[in-house]
Every structure is written in structure tokens, then in C-alpha cells.
Amino acid sequence: MAAGERRGGAIRSGEPAMKQKLYLNLDAAVADIPDGAIIMFGGFGGAGFPNNLIQALARKGTKNITAITNNCGTKEGELGLLFKNKQIQHVIASFPGPHSFIFQEQFAKGEVTLELVPQGILCERMRAAAAGLLGFYTSVGVGTEVAAGKEERVLDGKRCILELALHADFALIKSQKADGLGNLTYRLAARNFNPIMAMAAKTTIVETEEIVPVGAIEPENVVTPAIFVHRIVQAKGLRYAG
């Protein structure tokens, strides 16, 4: 964060965190996402997508979104809905995917722009943002199109390129369980990108299959600690075939 943001002097009391986090409906949870927002979307291979929140974002109608995501939707499902509504302007993704028809059409017409990032580097750039790191050196991408325009050097005898932290205003993620404080667990491989994005975004909004009492998740089994979660809304998961 910038020095100016931090040097605000006295701290003013807010509402208790617990009261602030629980939202009663999906639309309220995304109501303040403005046009031009940078948004991370969890999910991989049909699992762990925050499809209820995506639908709410479609209803809200936020435009000119920069979407950070592994893929670009499955037909009209997942992010496909937001492409269909022409809400997304720029994508930072690893693998748009074979069923991202609407995205592909808009990409071909130049209506949407794309930065392709190796999947692990996409994760690592988000984690760098989460961890307060500015950037890192990796040998992934050296000598490939991915290295174009990036600083290259040799460290420890290896060619490597500089990759920068990737921040977002919001993360929309999906969990299996959430307690009222925001501690999360994920089901099986529906975990995927969700915990990383939860850590990386300024405001993390989670749709959860189930809200459990505070203390119901064993402290040793919490996957995403409450500190990373800002809004919680319960919703039965939606899944798209594809």
C-alpha cells in the first residue's frame, strides 16, 4: 500500500468484523463492485466456481471488468455469462479453454484483450500480491513468448525473467464451509485457485455451501483463515456441464 494510505493517524472503531461479514443475499454482497474493477474469479475444471456470485455480478451489470481467472467460461456458464453480457474488457488468464466460445468470439473481434500467463506463474503473481512482495524471478517462460517485454537476467546461473505481483480489487470465490468470522474450508479439488485469490484481493467475497457455527472448523483444519475474508453469503452451488 502507498505510504499515504497507511499514515492516517488515529484508528476509528468500526462495526464488529463478524457483523460486517455475513450478507443475507448475493446481490448485496456485490452491490458496490464498480465499473472498471479488477476481479479475481476462483474455480478450475468445473469445480469451485462462484457461479452464484457471477450471476449476481451479471444482474448488477458492472462493466469494463478486468478478470483474473484460469479460464474464460464454459459456454454461457461460469465467466461465459459475463462475456455474454459484455461486462469484461480485459482478461488475465492461463487457459481460456476449449468451451470459452463467447470469449473467443469477442477476442477475435478485438472487443476483449488477453494477457496469457503460465498457470503457476499466475498463482505466484497473486501470491506475491498477497504476501506484500513486489515481484519475483522465475525461469518459467524464458525464451518463450511469455518473456516478451519482461526484464531478463541470470541469477544462480539460471536465465530468469521478472514477474510482477498481481493485485485485485475483489476476489469472488467459493467455499464448502464458512463460519461467521470467515474461516473457510473447500471440498476436494474445488479448492484450486480459491485460497490464493482470497489472500490476494483487497476485498474477498465468498459464496459458501454452508455456514457453520464459529468454532465448528477445527483450528488446525482451517484452509483460509478469517483474516482474508470480507463478505460471506450462503448459496447452493451451481455447476455447468461442459
Binding site: R6, A10, A17, M199, P225
Partner: protein
């Protein structure tokens, strides 16, 4: 004037406790900051973070109830509050550096008028010294409060124009609570917010090397 009563360490902690917002994620460092948890105002819930991988630390464990696998960063056995979580030390410091803590409270040897902090090493001290989590915490917390005595035992000011002790972090401190005053570090400089009972702004300034900005009447330090 140096004989006027100053706040005790406990009173500094008690005043500092009033700065903790309800629902905040907070890390308390060694020394006076570690006393703050004992003085939380009623009705306030704070989620204490420990850099060894705990969120939601509760009070110190009572004698006979200690579990030495559940210690804070000072090695003191503690309890958990409901909704606590464990994680490894890299994730603990992802939280500190990454701006996830609403507030950190550290002790200090010196704070400069720009909010630079020196708190890990005394020049000329014997031994290896040690940094611990202080640099990560100071660099990353959204707000950083320093609790310390206003002057050294020898009477030298600890709020200075420029730190002469080895630095912990540049331009990181947002509020200073001492045995004489509450001071905010703002873009325009050090702003005196409160003075200890019986101390005038001028008297506090005399104990301070850096210039203090005063605006109107400065109220007495709150205690609850």
C-alpha cells in the same frame, strides 16, 4: 519537571488498548504492547495474530493449563478464542507483510518525525542481536502503533528528528503512545493528540527532539 509523574507501562498499555478497533486483526510485539491484551475495553473483540502461525489468540494459559505447543511469539502459553486458526510461518508473515493486519503494536527505541522506527538493536550492545518478525510487521501492517517510554532512562528523547539507532523500517509508524503523550504521524508531521495528566504540550515538546504540531487545546490522555 522531570519529576512529574509519568504513566506506568501498564497505563501506557491501557491507553493504547483504546486504539484497538472492534473486530480488528492485531499483532502485539514484545514489551509494553504485549500488555495491551489485558486492557481491552469491554465488548470489544480483537483477533490477535501471532507470527508463529496463530490467528485468534486468547488470554495467557492459567497455571496448570499450559500447553507448550500453543505459545505466542514470546514463548508464553496461551489459549485460543472460538474461530481461531493455525497456519505455517510463511503464511503468518504473508499476513504481516501483505497488509492484512489492521494494526500492529510494537515497542520502540526511537521514532523519527517521518515515522521511521528503530526497535531491534541498541548500538554497541553485546551479542548477535535479533530481528524476529519486527521488520516484516512494521513494513506491512495497515496501521503501526508504537508504545514506549517518551525518553530513555538517561532522559534522552526517543522521538527524534532522525533515528540514530539501527532502523527497523522507514516511514511506518502511524501513532505513538508514550508515558507522556499520544502522537499521530501524519503527512504534515507529528501531531500531538493527547498529553499525560499534569503535562502541558510545551512540557511534552521539551521532552521531544522532533517538532510536535499542536492544534488548539490538547486534551488529557484517556484511560478508558
Amino acid at each position: 519537571m522531570p519529576d512529574k509523574p509519568r504513566l506506568t507501562r501498564e497505563q501506557i498499555a491501557q491507553r493504547a488498548a483504546l486504539e484497538l478497533p472492534d473486530g480488528a486483526y492485531v499483532n502485539l510485539g514484545w514489551g509494553i504492547p504485549n500488555l495491551i491484551a489485558d486492557y481491552l475495553p469491554k465488548g470489544i473483540t480483537v483477533y490477535f495474530h501471532s507470527e508463529n502461525g496463530i490467528l485468534g489468540m486468547g488470554p495467557r494459559a492459567k497455571p496448570g493449563e499450559e500447553d507448550y505447543d500453543l505459545v505466542d511469539a514470546m514463548k508464553v502459553p496461551v489459549k485460543l478464542i472460538p474461530g481461531a486458526s493455525f497456519f505455517h510461518q510463511a503464511d503468518a508473515h504473508l499476513m504481516t507483510r501483505g497488509g492484512h493486519l489492521d494494526l500492529a503494536v510494537l515497542g520502540g527505541f526511537q521514532v523519527s518525525e517521518k515515522g521511521d522506527l528503530a526497535n531491534w538493536k541498541v548500538p554497541g550492545a553485546k551479542g548477535s542481536g535479533g530481528i524476529g518478525g519486527a521488520m516484516d510487521i512494521a513494513a506491512g501492517a495497515k496501521k503501526l502503533m508504537v508504545c514506549m517510554e517518551h525518553t530513555t532512562k538517561e532522559g534522552a528523547p526517543k522521538i527524534v528528528k532522525q533515528c540514530t539507532y539501527p532502523l527497523t523500517c522507514l516511514a511506518c509508524v502511524t501513532t505513538i503512545v508514550t508515558d507522556l503523550a499520544v502522537i499521530d504521524v501524519l503527512p504534515e508531521g507529528l501531531v500531538l493528540r493527547e498529553t499525560a495528566p499534569g503535562w502541558t504540550a510545551e512540557e511534552v515538546q521539551q521532552q521531544t527532539e522532533a517538532r510536535l504540531i499542536t492544534r488548539g487545546r490538547i486534551p488529557e490522555m484517556r484511560s478508558a
